[in-house]
């Protein structure tokens, strides 16, 4: 098992390098220039040249990439060009907010998704099943920023239960968490339902029925347990997507976080900040996949057996 984890971690290194090249190229090749956001009306061309030289923007792209990568290896994310602060401080301020939002949303999609999936399986092909499947499909196809605004209208403006926006209290987390959580529920519901239907057709379930166990107990204790393996994988894969999906929701709810930081930096073409944010999101996807694989190995003895 340890050898497996180490091997998987080592495999992340080339992926990380490839991702870093792609991120670097995307932001440097799209048109736009951070220096345009820095120079103010009235300053001269010398000013501009000085700024360009200070941030090394006059060097060739491969050179700039190597400088950035060398910094990354030392744990130095560079200094934001427009924001004029160390990128690591900006990220450190944003990350806890994003993690809280992402983590809670993941819990919501997992909780709601598994419950609804199990219920849908119980009443398979009946009206309840169809209502659940239709409902979650609708929820996941609505764009999150719009769903967010609808949530604000209903829960804050009409009902007045939660604050409209901000990040001052725990209550302000509820609406954004629900928005992201609900959007991700559909997949979990579907996978839970299908996996449970498949597991219910296994021989051991027939045996349990023959032994005379109550059907509800068989479903929850045995079938659901088996069905959770693919659900865990799906959830782990979603870690990265949830952080990415939080970008627009953070803007709608005016929450600080990686998303608001990224959008602001993109508009200003603040290269180091955009690179660091995208790298964080890419790492979340990579680590999510890794965690998913390890979890699967941990809960499924068959996978473990194959590793040896």
């Amino acid at each position: 098992m340890t050898a497996y984890v180490v091997r998987r971690l080592l495999m992340l290194v080339p992926v990380f390098l490839a991702v870093s090249v792609v991120i670097f190229l995307i932001i440097h090749l799209i048109p736009g220039d951070p220096v345009d956001n820095l120079i103010k009306i009235g300053s001269g061309p010398e000013q501009r040249a000085a700024i360009v030289a200070r941030y090394g923007l006059d060097r060739s792209l491969p050179e700039q990439y190597l400088i950035w990568l060398a910094g990354l290896v030392r744990g130095d994310l560079g200094t934001a060009i427009v924001a004029q602060r160390p990128v690591s401080t900006l990220i450190a301020q944003a990350l806890p907010h994003s993690l809280a939002l992402g983590g809670l949303s993941l819990l919501v999609s997992a909780g709601v998704g598994i419950v609804l999936g199990a219920v849908a399986m119980r009443y398979r092909d009946g009206p309840i099943d169809q209502a659940i499947m239709g409902g979650v499909l609708l929820g996941s196809t609505l764009p999150t920023f719009w769903l967010g605004l609808l949530m604000i209208l209903l829960f804050s403006v009409v009902l007045g239960w939660f604050p409209v926006s901000g990040a001052r209290t725990w209550s302000s987390l509820v609406l954004p968490v629900l928005t992201i959580g609900l959007a991700g529920t559909a997949l979990v519901v579907r996978v839970t339902r299908i996996a449970m239907i498949e597991a219910a057709q296994k021989d051991f379930v027939l045996l349990l029925h023959a032994k005379g166990l109550p059907p509800s107990r068989i479903r929850l204790r045995h079938v659901l347990r088996h069905a959770l393996t693919p659900v865990v994988t799906i959830l782990a894969l979603r870690i990265g997507w949830i952080l990415g999906g939080a970008v627009t929701v953070e803007v709608v709810f005016a929450r600080p976080g990686l998303g608001t930081l990224l959008i602001k930096a993109l508009n200003q073409h603040d290269y180091p900040v955009v690179q660091a944010c995208l790298l964080m999101l890419a790492m979340a996807v990579m680590l999510g996949t890794l965690v998913g694989d390890i979890l699967q190995a941990a809960i499924d003895p068959r996978v473990r057996a194959n590793l040896k």
């Binding site: 799209i30 048109p31 736009g32 220039d33 345009d36 956001n37 820095l38 120079i39 103010k40 009306i41 009235g42 300053s43 061309p45 000013q47 700024i51 427009v82 924001a83 004029q84 602060r85 160390p86 900006l90 301020q93 944003a94 809670l104 819990l107 909780g111 598994i114 419950v115 605004l149 604000i152 209208l153 804050s156 403006v157 239960w161 939660f162 604050p163 409209v164 926006s165 901000g166 990040a167 001052r168 209290t169 725990w170 209550s171 302000s172 987390l173 509820v174 929850l220 803007v251 709608v252 005016a254 929450r255 600080p256 608001t260 930081l261 602001k264 993109l266 508009n267 200003q268 073409h269």
Partner: protein, 526 residues
């Protein structure tokens, strides 16, 4: 399963507890204000190094000089000043009894120490004309100038030249303006979370307010919370539900919606923005001045004001905002809708009307490109401009880019017409957008005219005092207008909305925006 339910119940409990805790003590004198969306994400309150500062900066620091709504200058930390007739020296008499938030005195010694810090920053050009600072006595300083700078008072009134405490500035290094910000202003920085909120508390020792506010003593509201909300709909809903008390920037689109709210008051202040259409003078057919003039006179400013902006704001007939004296040009230079003039000019230039409604010359139709930013407001304006050009027989095709990449596109010089806007309240903006050494961007018109360059040089560095500068800039502005490198369109207002059940604002808003002068006089209804 049961565990999950328990967790959900726990989460709900936490949320409810949070909700109860969130109900604020409404009776304390506090107010929550939302920054304009273009100020969201300002990373620091360090006026010396920042490339962007928000509205709270002017409350933490004071400037030597204040500028009023009519753009006149008024004393603040400088009680009075004298300019030498040749513009080569300035004497400033400083206000006595002023202290910084950390107790350090503000006096003549502060000024050279502060300007010294300024030299290392990207904003150094603002004080570049000052050669030496001489401390005459404890409350008098004399600036010896390298060359006359009639724009000095304007620069000194900018928040970038707000005065931080030099000792704390040095001691805190990069943290200054982030964890702590020490100025002489009516409010002290309590907490600052970038991209989220800034909390300011009243400076009780403050007795040196500028003459722009009635109240010169400590401010009336004890605590101000400034929030950053990037999404305008969210900010609007916060104001509507009472989550915040004031929005410093409301898009014109929301005005109708806000007017129907009984507890919300709206203020429209003259802004410093001008929307215009730049015309590339190096791209055929606009190399012909007649075609440029025709395009400029095809724009119906009044129709745009009435139909797109519901009459809020005013038309633009010159390149500068109406508040600037340099915008008062000879009426013959005003660019005002005149379709007949436009049609005659096109006929003279050889572009004859064809059957399809598009003019043509030697078989080539009058087809041009019209660039703009992809934001909805720019697109909508561009579509109306497109229709108005069509009415005189010019076929303009709209291409839109995102706000950052359009600048790179301009640098290619391939643009023909472009709908854009700027925000600035000084005549030197003419130099910025039409100077021959900035072709592409910011000079999107690619305007490089020997006579204009001569007038520009005279306006930028050939004036000893502000009257001369004004006259020189007016002449330069008039000449630029006569060459039609652009067509002015519209001057938007700055719209501020506040909850009138909570806040009382002074009757007249003084200063160039809802800023320190207004916050000094503002009170919360008990």
């Amino acid at each position: 399963m049961r565990k999950l339910l328990a967790k959900a119940a726990l989460a709900a409990g936490i949320c409810f507890a949070g909700l109860c805790a969130a109900v604020p003590a409404v009776f304390a004198q506090e107010a929550t204000i939302v920054f304009n969306t273009n100020e969201v994400g300002a990373p620091t309150y360090n006026p010396i190094k920042a490339s962007m500062l928000n509205a709270a900066t002017g409350l933490i620091y004071d400037m030597l000089v204040e500028q009023d709504a009519d753009l006149s200058f008024h004393p603040h930390l400088a009680e009075s000043w004298e300019e030498a007739p040749d513009g080569m020296s300035w004497v400033f008499h400083l206000k006595k009894g002023v202290t910084f938030h950390n107790g350090e005195p503000f006096n003549a010694q502060t000024i050279p120490a502060w300007l010294e810090l300024f030299k290392e920053s990207d904003n150094a050009y603002m004080s570049e004309a000052i050669d030496k600072v001489e401390v005459v006595d404890d409350y008098t300083v004399k600036f010896a100038m390298k060359h006359p700078d009639p724009n000095l008072l304007y620069n000194l009134s900018s928040t970038f030249m707000a005065i931080p405490e030099p000792k704390a500035y040095k001691a805190l290094g990069d943290k200054f303006g982030v964890t702590e910000a020490i100025g002489t202003g009516p409010y002290k920085l309590e907490t600052f979370n970038v991209g989220s909120e800034t909390v300011l508390v009243r400076n009780d020792a403050y007795t040196w307010g500028s003459p722009l506010s009635k109240n010169t003593g400590p401010a009336k509201i004890q605590k101000l919370t400034f929030r950053e909300i990037p999404e305008e709909s969210t900010a609007f809903l916060e104001l509507k539900t009472g989550g915040v008390d004031m929005l410093l920037g409301v898009p014109t689109d929301f005005m109708g919606e806000l007017k129907s709210e009984p507890n919300i008051a709206l203020l429209t202040l003259p802004g410093s923005e001008v929307a215009y259409m730049s015309i590339n003078v190096t791209s055929a057919p606009f190399t012909d001045i007649k075609v440029r003039e025709a395009a400029a006179f095809a724009i119906n400013q009044q129709e745009i004001l009435d139909s797109i902006y519901g009459g809020v704001g005013s038309v633009a007939n010159t390149f500068l905002i109406s508040a600037l004296p340099e915008s008062q040009v000879d009426p013959k230079y005003l660019v005002k809708y005149d379709p007949e003039r436009s049609k005659t000019l096109l006929d003279e230039a050889g572009w004859k009307m064809a059957d399809d409604g598009i003019r043509a010359k030697d078989g080539t139709p009058l087809k041009v490109s019209l660039w703009t930013q992809s934001d909805t407001s720019f697109r909508r304006l561009s579509e109306v401009v497109q229709a108005q050009l069509k009415a005189v027989g010019i076929d303009a095709e709209i291409t839109s880019f995102d706000s950052s990449s359009i600048r790179d596109q301009y640098k290619s010089g391939k643009q023909q017409l472009a709908v854009r806007s700027y925000e600035w309240n000084n005549a030197d903006i003419v130099d910025w957008f039409f100077g021959g050494d900035r072709l592409g961007y910011p000079n999107t018109s690619m305007f490089n005219d020997p006579k204009a360059e001569e007038l520009r040089k005279k306006a930028m560095s050939g004036s000893a005092n502000s009257e001369q500068r004004q006259a020189n800039f007016k002449t330069y502005h008039e000449y630029v207008l006569s060459q039609f490198p652009m067509a002015p369109i519209y001057q938007p207002t700055v719209n501020v909305a506040y909850n009138k059940d909570r806040l009382v604002l002074p009757e007249h808003i003084r200063g160039t925006e809802v800023g320190p002068a207004t916050f000094m006089d503002m009170t919360v209804k008990e």
